[in-house]
């Protein structure tokens, strides 16, 4: 197995019939989201936040599914609106996009380095099985030292998709070209993205 290239990803997204297509619904900005060998996915609007309860802990042998559910609070934020993640806080989120993998493709979801560099872990259970359908659950943890605003709709993670490999003509020309040692996050360069998210969120809210 090898990574799908930019061209192969676009081809996989356009395959007919539907059953054999890699579906990413919606793809708001294909030019920005489909990279040399990955597809960026966005943060959704729904979250599960752990409640403070009088339980002593999580014991898979002792807790029913219902009890585990009750230990979490559902939070919905509007598109383009932030949810704040404080240091050490763990929240379940999901991709905005609904994904469906055909039988011949599998993949991995991994964080984007821009977020990793401020201490955000995005996913731990990263394997996507062939045939998977749904929004990917993201295990969001702030391992940094300050609160992070996560805007619903921001590009939070990337998919690496495996089936066949091909060299890409799309050389990487992004923000981290030629790093020499640890690089400070360039999240500030995403300010325009965030502004766009807020603008769309305002439009949805009629502002």
């Amino acid at each position: 197995m090898s990574l799908l290239s930019h061209e192969a990803l676009n081809a996989a997204l356009a395959v007919e019939p539907l059953e054999e297509r890699l579906t990413i619904m919606p793809m708001l900005d294909p030019q920005q989201q489909v990279g040399p060998a990955s597809i960026d996915v966005r943060l959704g609007t729904r979250f599960r936040v752990l409640r403070r309860t009088d339980e002593s802990g999580i014991d898979p042998a002792a807790h029913s599914q219902g009890a585990l559910e009750r230990g979490q609070q559902h939070v919905t934020v509007g598109f383009g609106r932030p949810i704040w993640l404080h240091p050490g806080q763990f929240v379940l989120g999901s991709t905005l996009e609904f994904l469906r993998f055909p039988a011949q493709l599998g993949g991995y979801v991994v964080g984007r380095s821009s977020w990793g560099r401020v201490g955000l872990l995005v996913a731990t259970a990263i394997m996507i099985q062939p045939g998977f359908a749904g929004n990917l659950t993201l295990e969001l943890v702030n391992q940094g030292e300050g609160p992070i605003a996560l805007y619903a709709g921001c590009r939070i993670a990337q998919l690496a998709i495996h089936a066949l490999d091909a060299p890409t003509a799309q050389a990487y020309t992004g923000k981290y070209v030629g790093p020499t040692g640890p690089q400070v996050t360039r999240l500030a360069k995403e300010a325009a993205d965030i502004e766009r998210l807020k603008e769309v969120g305002d439009r949805l809210a009629g502002i």
Partner: protein
Amino acid sequence: MGALDDDFQFVAASVERAARLQRRECRDVLDGGALRGLALARHLDLVYDAVEQRVVDRRAEYQLAPDDTVRADAILEMRQLVWDVRGFQSNLAWLAAAQQPPLDLGTTYFLEDAARALVASQVEVTVVSTEHTSYATSSDPWEPLISAWGGGIPAGEPTVVIVFIPRREERSGLLHPLIMHELGHAADSRHGLVDRIWQQAGQRKRFPKRFSAAVAEFAAATGAGIADANDHVTRRLRSWIAESLCDCVAVRHLGPTYLYSFLAEVAAGSMDEAGPKHPPPRQRIKLLLQNLDADRWTQVLTEADPRVDGWVRSLAAKNVDYSETDDFLTWAVDELRAVVRAETGRLLGTRVLAPDVAQLSEVTALIEAGIPPAQLRNGDAASRETIILACWQSALANAGGGPEALAVAPDAPELADLLPAALELSAVTAAWTAP
């Protein structure tokens, strides 16, 4: 100071306390950086301003009261006001609903978008899940009180629309299209649509004569005076016209979706009962079908579910005799259907939904594959009206088709998450790609 004075001061202070207690929750919303319910909270704050102003005015009038009869009246009014203001606490649940909407984000976006188009560009919709058995609405509910006792609602303030949904249907996405009918009422409050239809009714050839005959008949049957009979018939007919108008707004905006939702919710409860405010469901179904046929939905209806289509058309075709005033009202609503349709067309403009078979087919294929159909192959957002219609058709088919499928389709488990997700993602896609 006499006993009456003590009574008055005691009761007036009680009114002020009741207002003060409730104002705190408005302030929490206004000062707390809330994103939703701000206009609602401001309106409520104005209500409490108005109540306090009324107490101030009444205190001043009390000082000048010439005798105990006037003083006793003032106390009586304050006592009534205590109960009225205490009753306003039900509004606080509306504030809470604005903060924690009972509907999913996709449906919320859909309704807010429609409200901005139909009611006003500056509008705030709050959906409240209640114990009421059916859907209802209220538009700027406190405007009369704020205007009467306070300084009125400031210019530029958003219209506040409260939509009530039955608690049992919170997750019935296929019934929420009924809210479009409720937004029709809000649009009427804002734009005076029934007033315009009423004016045109008076100019129709046969209408004045039949109206006068109905008034006379009602007066003779009940012993009421002509003026009272006139008020009675007018009030009922205006209500029926409003219902007919709101049905027309909803069905022309949503196509067959509204017919299906209407049948599942309303037609199960009654068919030939003429209500004080509502025409009999059978007549409403007939008018819905006429509008759908006129908007070229006939083939889509037939192909989607021939049994449902045949059943609905047989319901509409049955002639029922209504007695006395109801006979006139059903005639009048039929007589005015073209006027209602024209007013609806003016209100909706380009939002009148036309059949788009290609889009419906593409969206249906995605639903059948279990994919929320938010975006079309060309990158455009799928129309939310088409999404809901395709979901209705899919639910009917999955439930085996026919009238019994209509009854159970709103609970289709395969659509419980898919429909809200599709509406949300479609709204996001449309807003993202908007110029």
